[in-house]
Every structure is written in structure tokens, then in C-alpha cells.
Symmetry: C2
Subunit: 292 residues, 2 copies
């Protein structure tokens, strides 16, 4: 995808901010380890796509917003992999941060990446010219809301420690929050109102949750780059457990149709619809596409 | 101290932001548990004192900055107490967050408090009027620098995972960073230049580090509200190990003298000097004052 280079450049600039000769070297090494090579960079790709669809009149802010969002996502992976949570050994095809370094450094790497996300936004504002401080503060507010309590990914992960789970709130926070951040921060970075972009993010997030449930239930670990069958093993709620495989696939298609219908009117509307359709194809596991 | 009520009100308002009916209840309960009742609230007290000494012309921002700084401090305590770090059972006289709740919730509570700190700053800007966005962004930048990598408390904690420790960088980041944040964010909140306020924060931080080393070496656990002898047990560098008890006490006095001398010229200069002297008395363990 054409945005890849722009995203990686923004991520590289962000990580460089956190490194200097005076930094503790192992923690300094754990940060790029947690961030490079990336996964699909889906969230910053969506963010940049929405910003471009809205005119992208402040590309410095768009880059910062994309990097900040991906930093939060990477931080959440580092912490979710910890022994107290998923106790995962492998992530993106290599040892998880706490396995490659140690557990204290994994906690600190996650903390540092969260902090860096907000620093990147604040610094970009200082360089991006008129109107940038107001937009940057809206980006800080929005990213915080989608990351922390009560509605962000921290809240989503927190639901997994509850006896009684509010399933709607759980999915919306655990997976949906950063997709809503992607569409809405893209709009904010380009000076637009965030509200009309919430539904697109929410629906893409729902689709990814269902696709992830399908992958977890069906795919071999070597295809995923991480262990499969985690949902069942940890007794986590899953669309496959609720609807069966065929039902989950139908549900996924319906959600993506709704996502396309929800795209606000803007100059890049058709481009965004193509993006969602491309994700839809990628999201459906190949074995299921073959089955129909 | 007269600022107590103002600080607690700001902390209460901050924590309420993170709680709603839709939040996971246990994580929702872990946040106030980590923050109330507070310790001495030294960092926000210094921050507000500096802001007042500089005129405190935007009290809404000052309150937010004080709360944000203390939220970061509380988050660092929650994470530092985790089994992978100090494995502490007791903090501020009650069970640590991972003992009272569990380890996943302690990781998430720390993460959520970090995020909340930046959210509080961004929200305050929206309510504080002209010039507030620029100041709020400087506060976000500054707090991030003093919290994350390469110079913040995360870096400070990271030094404890290194074989070879840069002692100056370690102390400056581990303890000094949030005291520098206290003086400099107080100045920023009141619309002043931050740079002249760095030395005061650095010296107060040094003093607290030496005082903490003395307490850790000398006091009984029941007087501290947490286990004593941790530095020796974990083989951590300490002023007492380097200078002996009498040497460390002399060093403490010299640092505090330097702190008072470094206070920038401002309308509240005398008040700040009194504040530092009052901390100096509190900081020296009673047994040592009695000895001379």
C-alpha cells in the first residue's frame, strides 16, 4: 500500500525521539524491537486514508497522529503479551518483548510507548503552524479517550478481569476503540469534525474482531505468527463461539457493508470504500473464501 | 498545608473522568484505590507553589498540571510495586494494587493513570481560555519528557535492568525527573518560561533521593508504610552506601542550600524558600536530627 513508507518514516522519527546516548541501552533497544518490523499497520493506514480523504491540509499532524496511534497499539501488544495476561512467547513471528528482554523491560517499554504517543502529538503541534495547537489537543484528548478508562483499550482489557462481562462494552473498547481513533483522528488531523467518522471506525473494529475470532478458531499458528486457539483456551467471548463459523462469516460481510454505507460524504469517499473492500477480502481467511 | 484541598479536588475530578457506568467495575475501583488516600502529594504541592509564586493566572491549568503530575507518580508506584520489580505487598500503609486486586489490573491501572494524566491536561485547555492550548501542549510535552524515554522515570526504572549503570542519569531520571516536572510545569501553567526552574526541581529531587536512601537504610518498616532495607536487598545504588550516614546527611543539607539559592527571582520567592526549608526539616529522619 502506498502509505507504508510514510507510516514507517513517522514511526522511525517517533522512536528516535525516545532514544539518546543518556538512555538505558536495553530499554532503548526494547522500544524499536516492539515497533519494528510492524504488523499490517492497519490503524495508521486507516487514519492516513481518512486524513487524505478529508484533504490532509496538515500532513505533519497527520503523520504524528498515525505514529501516535500505532505506538499505543504496539504498547498494548507488549503489555497484553505479559505473563499476567496472555503469557505469549511469540508476536509478529518473533519472541515477545518480555521473552527477548525481560518482564520489567516489557512493562517499561509499554509505558514508554504510551508516553511517547502523547509526546509525538505535542511536538508535532509546535512545528505544524497555525491552528495546530487546537487540533493537537483534540488529538491528545481523543487518543486518551480511546486508550484509557472508561472507554479505551485499557478498559477493554480490564473487562477480561471481570466475572460478569458487558459484551458490547468489552468489544467496543478492546478492539473497536483504536479503529474509532483511526477514523476520527484522521478527520481531526485534517481539521474536520470527528463525530461523523465514529461509525466507520466502530464498524471496521467490529469486522476485525469477528475476523480475529475466525482466525483464532481456524488457522494454524504458523500462519498467524502467534499461538492460535487462545480465545477458547482463555474462555474468552468469541463470535465463532456465539454464531458458529458460517454465522460469523455472514456477520462479517454484513458489518463491512454497513461500514461502506457509513462513510461520510467527502472528496475521498470512493477511495475509502475501496479501502474497506480491500480489507474485507484480506480479512476473510482464505479457507473460508474457498468454501464460499 | 493550605494547598491540600485544592490538590485533592483536582485529583478527584481527574479520577471521575475515568469512571462511568460502562467501565469495567474492578479496574474502575483500582484507579481511586491507587490514588487515594495520597502520600504527601509533594510533587503537586511544589507545582502549585511555583505556579502561585509566578502569579497563577490560569488556575484551571495549574490544577490540571498538578493532578496530571501526581497521576503519573501514582502510576509509577503501582508499576514499581509489581512482582517483576519490587514485588511489594504494602504501599502507603495498605495492600499494593496487585495484592488488593490482581496483577493484570495493576498493569492496567498504571497504564490508565498514565493516559489519564495527558487527558486531564488536554481537557483543561479546552476550558481554560485564551492561550491555554499553547500552554497545555507545553505541559503535555514536558510531562512526557519527564515520564518516558530517554530522560523520564521510565528511563530511571530502566537503568535498574542494566549491568552498567550511569549513576548520574539514573538518579536524575528515577527521582529527579518528576521534581523537575513539578517546578517547570508550575511555571508553564502560569505562562512562564520553564528553563529557569529546572535547577530548583533537580536539587529538590536530589535531596529527596538522599533522604529516601537515609530512610530506607535507617527506619523501621512501620514508620515508612512500606518495607525498609529494599535498596540493600536489591543491590541498588544509594547515597548511604556511597557516603555513610553522616556523609549523606551533610550532602542533603548542601543540596537544600543550593536549592534555595537557585530559586528564580519572582514575586513568591520568599514563600518558595520557606517551602524548601520546611521540606528540609521533614526530610531529615527524626533520629538523625536528634543526633545533631
Amino acid at each position: 500500500m502506498a502509505l507504508d513508507g510514510r507510516i514507517e518514516a513517522a514511526m522511525t522519527a517517533a522512536i528516535q525521539l525516545a532514544q539518546s546516548g543518556a538512555a538505558p541501552p536495553r530499554l532503548g533497544a526494547a522500544l524499536p524491537y516492539a515497533v519494528f518490523p510492524g504488523g499490517a499497520r492497519i490503524r495508521p493506514t486507516i487514519l492516513m486514508s481518512v486524513a487524505l480523504a478529508c484533504g490532509d491540509d496538515s500532513p505533519r499532524l497527520t503523520d504524528a497522529a498515525a505514529a501516535a496511534l500505532e505506538l499505543i497499539h504496539c504498547a498494548s501488544l507488549v503489555h497484553d503479551d505479559l505473563p499476567a495476561f496472555d503469557n505469549a512467547d511469540i508476536r509478529r513471528g518473533k519472541a515477545t518483548v518480555h521473552r527477548a528482554f525481560d518482564e520489567p523491560l516489557a512493562v517499561l517499554a509499554g509505558d514508554s510507548l504510551i508516553v511517547l504517543a502523547f509526546e509525538v502529538l505535542a511536538r508535532a503541534a509546535a512545528e505544524a503552524g497555525t491552528g495546530a495547537p487546537e487540533r493537537a489537543l483534540r488529538l491528545v484528548s481523543h487518543l486518551a479517550m480511546r486508550t484509557g478508562m472508561p472507554f479505551g483499550i485499557c478498559a477493554g482489557q480490564g473487562w477480561e478481569s471481570e466475572g460478569q462481562v458487558n459484551l458490547g462494552a468489552y468489544h467496543r473498547a478492546k478492539t473497536g476503540a483504536l479503529f474509532m481513533a483511526a477514523t476520527q483522528m484522521g478527520a481531526i488531523a485534517a481539521g474536520q469534525d470527528a463525530e461523523p467518522w465514529e461509525e466507520l471506525g466502530a464498524r471496521i473494529g467490529e469486522a476485525f474482531q469477528v475476523a480475529d475470532d475466525l482466525k483464532d478458531a481456524l488457522m494454524a499458528p504458523e500462519d498467524m505468527g502467534k499461538p492460535a486457539g487462545q480465545d477458547q483456551m482463555h474462555g474468552r467471548p468469541s463470535a465463532v463461539a456465539e454464531l458458529g463459523v458460517a454465522g460469523a462469516v455472514e456477520h462479517l460481510k454484513a458489518i463491512l457493508g454497513g461500514a461502506i454505507a457509513s462513510i461520510p460524504s467527502c472528496r475521498g469517499e470512493a477511495m475509502l470504500a475501496r479501502m474497506v473492500r480491500a480489507y474485507a477480502e484480506k480479512m476473510t481467511p482464505a479457507r473460508l473464501t474457498a468454501k464460499g
